[in-house]
């Protein structure tokens, strides 16, 4: 570290050494080896610092080389052959609203007969009778306790008429009656608002099925005519089963997943 400029002054007055350029060249050539030796032998924090710096430089160099090697010829955007071939008139259109065709009516009929189903929710929490029904006291002295009010959501059907109040044992309040369900198609992942045709099976018991109570895990039959499904024989499908996936009495709506 020269203090002052006496080296430059001497160079200005007397010129450089005669072998200056040669010495510079050789020094530069030795730099490479020196750098490598230092990088290999340096220990501790210094070594780590040198290694990190070298790595950073290496990465930068690789990126520059790759950038230069990129060919300038234009390549087609999509070289691979994808699945789900569509004709030209459907290529620019959104395919999410397409529902699938029923693939196997025979299997379905067999399943119906056996009563066995591949359901998305095989096990549900059982609902106790105290939770399901609320005891209604009637009579002049309010001592009779034979009436029950259903506290869960129910489905009654369009032609439902109440029994005479004196004789009806189970009360299904109008506020908890629903006729439509939000049904999701499991493959397309889109949801439709479909009419309920009936309650097929409530896992908590046959009594609840006959009452039409809809709780989590209940199998309901929904009207799918708006999906436009057709059987292989050419008949139009208008009813399919779906399983309820939420607690309708807490949410105020029935969410179900379609059983395909």
């Amino acid at each position: 570290m020269a203090q002052g400029d006496y080296i430059q002054l001497h160079e200005k007055r007397y010129g450089k050494r005669l072998d200056h350029d040669e010495r510079q060249r050789k020094r530069k050539a030795r730099e490479v080896k020196k750098r490598s030796r230092v990088a290999q032998q340096a220990l501790g924090l210094k070594g780590k610092r040198i290694a990190k710096q070298n790595y950073r430089e290496k990465v930068q160099m690789k990126k520059t080389i790759a950038m230069h090697e990129e060919s300038s010829t234009r390549r087609k955007v999509d070289d691979n052959v994808h699945d789900g071939a569509m004709p030209a008139y459907l290529l620019d259109r959104d395919p999410t609203t397409r529902a699938k065709v029923l693939s196997n009516t025979i299997k379905q009929k067999r399943k119906e007969k056996a009563g066995k189903w591949d359901v998305p929710l095989p096990k549900v929490r059982p609902v106790a009778e105290e939770e399901m029904f609320k005891v209604i006291r009637t009579g002049k002295r309010k001592t009779k306790q034979w009436k029950r009010m259903v506290t869960k959501v129910s489905f009654v059907g369009p032609s439902f008429t109440r029994k005479p109040p004196k004789y009806e044992r189970f009360i299904r309040p109008t506020g908890l009656r629903f006729s439509k369900a939000h049904v999701t198609h499991p493959e397309l992942k889109c949801t439709f608002n479909l009419d309920i045709i009936g309650v097929k099976k409530n896992p908590n018991g046959q009594m609840y099925t006959s009452l039409g109570v809809v709780t989590k895990g209940t199998i309901i039959e929904v009207n799918v005519s708006e999906l436009g499904l057709v059987t292989p024989a050419g008949k139009v499908v208008w009813g399919k089963y779906a399983q309820v996936t939420n607690n309708p009495e807490n949410d105020g709506c029935i969410n179900a997943v379609l059983l395909v």
Binding site: V81, G84, M86, P87, A88, Y89, R98, V101, G228, V230
Partner: protein
Amino acid sequence: MALEEGTSTSSGNTVMCLLTNPEGEPLGAPLYLPQNIGPPQLQEIVNKLLNNDEKLPYAFYISDQELVVQLGSYLAQKKVSVEKVLRIVYQPQAVFRIRPVNRCSATIAGHTEAVLSVSFSPDGKHLASGSGDTTVRLWDLNTQTPLFTCTGHKNWVLFIAWSPDGKHLVSGSKAGELLLWDPHTGKQLGGPLTGHKKWITAISWEPVHLQAPSRRFVSASKDGDARIWDISLKKCVISLTGHTLAVTCVKWGGDGHIYTGSQDCTIKVWETTQGKLIRELKGHGHWVNSLALSTEYVLRTGAYDHTGKTFSSPEEMKEVALARYKKMRGNAPERLVSGSDDFTMFLWEPALSKHHKARLPGHQQLVNHVYFSPDGQWLASASFDKSVKLWNGITGTFVATFRGHVGPVYQISWSADSRLLLSGSKDSTLKVWDIRTHKLKEDLPGHADEVFSVDWSPDGEKVASGGKDRVLKLWMN
């Protein structure tokens, strides 16, 4: 005239009638006709007045309604006054009658991906199909088995088109390349024709009455231009640029103009020697999906017709094709119909004016496919609202709706005698509709998944359909 003597008989009242042809020109002078005559007698009168050698069949229409009963009962029903002259429009019908297909005669597997387009050759002897597995397959119609598998494309084969002389088949793919095939050997003729940068949406050959043997065809692509290719030079001769968005449909008209419909809502008319734009037809509010020409069927079949004659030389083919085209067209200019995403269709006469002649609303969803009947009298439109609508092919007035499908209707095809209409839909069924009764004739279920493409052979014997379930189905009577 034998029937004129019956005017003063006791058979009942008479009515003054004037027979006119579909364009409105009267045939002879007004006649007094008794009210107990029906279509058969009217047919005899027309045949005599036109001096036909053979008895040709005709259908009669009074104010767009077909006359099937006797005149008297018709007048009583409609309460038409007998004071004024009654105009009866006669329409020539095809001499031959095609039987509706009602059974699936063969289900041929072979493609490993969805079948995207099927097409019969103009003489009806060969059948080709293009699929998502990048192959074009040729099928033997006599044994109903696969004949050739043509590989060579790099991506899905979106469109195939036969040349009107039946000697070449060209297919376009999603990679933007076009390949030429020889249908007799299944071999590729030359290398791929590249030039388009995005996928091919439509192909149309030059009519054979303009040039025989067929040399040129035009292809439309998503990249917004249409290119005219020459197969003997194996290169693109003219590029028709001008559209700003994808060109969805292209048709080569019989008078030598090319019509292209595009997603930029316009239709452009080009001339073919230099590739200059002649007219731009504006009016649609959304994408133009499909175009149809009134002479399309004749241009597609070229010189071949229902008689099944073969031709020895290209010149002979050219003459016969020209005669057929002239007969089909008559004196009227070519009519063009365009179906669009804005739920309407427009009827144009592009040679005359750049304004549309008629607007055809009525569909509740986008119109996917429009097709003129082979005799040019009717126009059918298939839409995503699950219906097929029938329109008058000359004036564009609405005639009837065919409902029955439960899914969007994708493609339609006419039988060669214009009496039956076939439609294929997303709900996996095909339906045959009767034009006379405006009702469903046959329901053809059987496909396991969506039907993408249907075609009725020009000789009327067979129907081929292909779709997402990867099989090709042949239907016969």
